[in-house]
């Protein structure tokens, strides 16, 4: 009796939850559908869209006309490059703060976080000017540097929260067994730190991939990643629904997949450990 009631209840909540989820997901689903239609069919009524023929032509056109893969590889280089560079700088810092904390550790962490809150637009012109002076405006190198810097606080914080969970007792045990500094790092700590570092990389690649202030303002034709490439469709080209859909699908698909794997890290990374 009680079980029957809960099954019914579960069915009702499931129907509600699925309806809500599909409504929220609908815009993504809809561009997926439109991307496989011809331009003419894509602007017809939704019912006609669903019943019309399916085609891959938009995907081919996007590549031919606007060199999609150039922008895609720009995005990959910028997102992955800035993340790895950030990891390289952040691992030693987070490491030392987690394992050799001092009176100042807390203050340094809080200060790092506060730099993340500096509004980008407040320093837009200085950065723009410095980029011109250094000759790195519209270059991938420039964006790798800027995105590394804006995400560095998040990287340090995430790594710090992961490293802090590694029990110090393990280190002491290894030392008792006569492990030197090098053996300790290589065989004891690294294997325990790898999952945390991997999650940090994942979340920061996503954040860098989607960053759309600096990528829009500091690039033109040459180094434009997908964010800026898609923005070029805000002109009358946006009227080509099928092509815009195909370009959008290609821009978000890789990161959507990565994002689904990073749900847990997302909470930790974006709340700086304030919600776990």
């Amino acid at each position: 009796m009680a079980r029957a009631a809960t099954t019914r209840q579960k069915t009702i909540t499931s129907v509600i939850a699925w309806t809500v989820a599909i409504i929220i997901f609908f815009p993504i689903l809809w561009i997926l559908v439109l991307s496989f239609k011809s331009e003419g069919d894509a602007i017809s009524t939704p019912l006609q869209v669903l019943t019309s023929a399916w085609t891959f032509e938009s995907y081919a056109v996007v590549q031919d006309r606007s060199d999609y893969f150039k922008h895609f590889s720009n995005s990959v280089i910028i997102a992955v490059g800035s993340t790895l560079l950030g990891i390289l700088v952040a691992v030693p810092a987070a490491w030392s703060m987690a394992f050799v904390p001092s009176k100042r550790t807390r203050g340094i962490l809080m200060w790092m976080l506060s730099t993340k809150m500096l509004p980008a637009v407040g320093v837009l012109y200085p950065i723009y000017l410095l980029f011109i002076e250094l000759g790195i405006l519209d270059s991938r190198l420039g964006l790798v540097i800027v995105l590394m810097l804006i995400n560095l606080p998040i990287i340090v914080w995430m790594l710090y929260t992961y490293f802090r969970e590694i029990p110090v007792e393990i280190l002491e045990a290894a030392r008792m067994d006569g492990a030197g500094m090098r053996a300790e790092l290589l065989y004891v700590l690294t294997p325990m730190a790898v999952p945390g570092i991997a999650s940090t990389i994942l979340l920061n690649v996503i954040l860098a991939w989607n960053e759309a202030f600096w990528t829009l303002n500091l690039t033109a034709a040459k180094a434009a990643p997908l964010t800026a490439f898609i923005a070029s469709y805000s002109s009358p080209e946006g009227l080509f629904f099928a092509k815009l859909s195909a370009a959008s699908v290609m821009a978000i698909a890789p990161i959507l997949v990565m994002g689904w794997f990073s749900q847990k890290q997302l909470v930790r990374g974006l709340t700086f450990g304030a919600v776990k």
Binding site: S14, F25, I31, A93, L113, M117, P119, Y125, W260, V275
Partner: protein, 288 residues
């Protein structure tokens, strides 16, 4: 264990990150401050000398300032109200036993991973286009006149687009918080005869208070500087010019660097006020 030796190694290991962030913070900040006290028009005469607080006064007294403040408040406030309220509702819903919970969760959080330029353009064209958009078809199907979303209802449209992007974030964080709630407490309350509404008000909501605060503060910081969503939809027209967008236009479009920099300093001060509260909460958690 922390000998003098290991302490100095720790300092060396920390140095690159600290130096980089210090440079990233100080150099542009000092330059912005520097420009804000100058009349500086790169395309029309360049550096025209010191003007004291002139730019600060002119930025606030320009006719575009107060509308931009109002727009910013409406967008930030609107998105916060929508995402927090719907986020709580969704988190409660997703916390229930449902079939295919994993898939439902994936569908709900998906919008967060869509890059801002894509979501701006997809909404603008495929949904809000007054002729061929999905909504236009829907409205006509029911015999109604399609709405010119981004010109006639520009602010609500932008609020809707941005809310769609941030709802997953609020939901995910609130869901994480709900799941950390002690179920025994809820069961005890149920045994004592507390109704669902009572349990929500007196147990779940107080438990969520901190997570809600964190959502509000983090979103405020990000929402104050939304840019791409406006850039690709209205480009600041039809009353959607936020403070961030106004500063962007002053600096890069009209190349009035002095005036834009003064605006930038205001933006930095504003963000810092919010940041102080957020940092206090994060800091408290660090001690625990």
């Amino acid at each position: 264990m922390a000998t003098q030796h290991s302490k100095s190694i720790a300092r060396v290991m920390m140095a690159p990150a600290v130096i980089l962030l210090l440079g990233w913070m100080l150099v542009p900040l000092v330059m912005t401050l520097f420009f804000s006290f100058k009349k500086y028009l790169p395309l029309r005469g360049g550096d025209l000398g010191w003007v004291g607080f002139d730019n600060y006064v002119r930025f606030v007294s320009s006719s575009a300032f107060w509308p931009a403040v109002a727009t910013t408040l409406i967008i930030v406030g609107g998105v916060l109200v929508i995402t927090v309220l719907l986020g709580i509702a969704l988190a409660l819903l997703l916390d229930q036993p449902i079939w295919g919970q994993g898939v439902v969760r994936i569908l709900v959080i998906a919008p967060f991973f869509v890059m801002p330029t894509v979501s701006g353009l997809v909404w603008k064209n495929m949904f809000m286009d007054p002729v061929n958009g999905f909504f236009a078809h829907l409205w006509r199907f029911f015999g109604a006149e399609p709405i010119q979303w981004l010109s006639q209802a520009s602010l609500p449209s932008v609020v809707m687009i941005v809310s769609w992007q941030w709802l997953p974030f609020a939901t995910l964080i609130l869901l994480t918080a709900i799941q950390s709630l002690d179920t025994e407490q809820l069961e005890a309350a149920e045994m004592d005869g507390a109704r669902p509404v009572g349990r929500f008000w007196f147990i779940i909501l107080p438990h969520l208070a901190r997570a809600i605060t964190v959502v509000i503060l983090i979103q405020t910081i990000f929402l104050l500087s939304i840019f791409a969503e406006i850039f690709v939809t209205t480009a600041g027209a039809f009353g959607t010019k936020t403070l961030t967008y106004l500063i962007f236009q002053r600096v890069l479009e009209s190349q009035n660097v002095g005036l834009g920099s003064a605006g930038g300093v205001y933006a930095i001060i504003l963000a810092n006020i919010v940041a102080v509260f957020l940092l206090r909460i994060v800091g408290k958690n660090l001690d625990a």
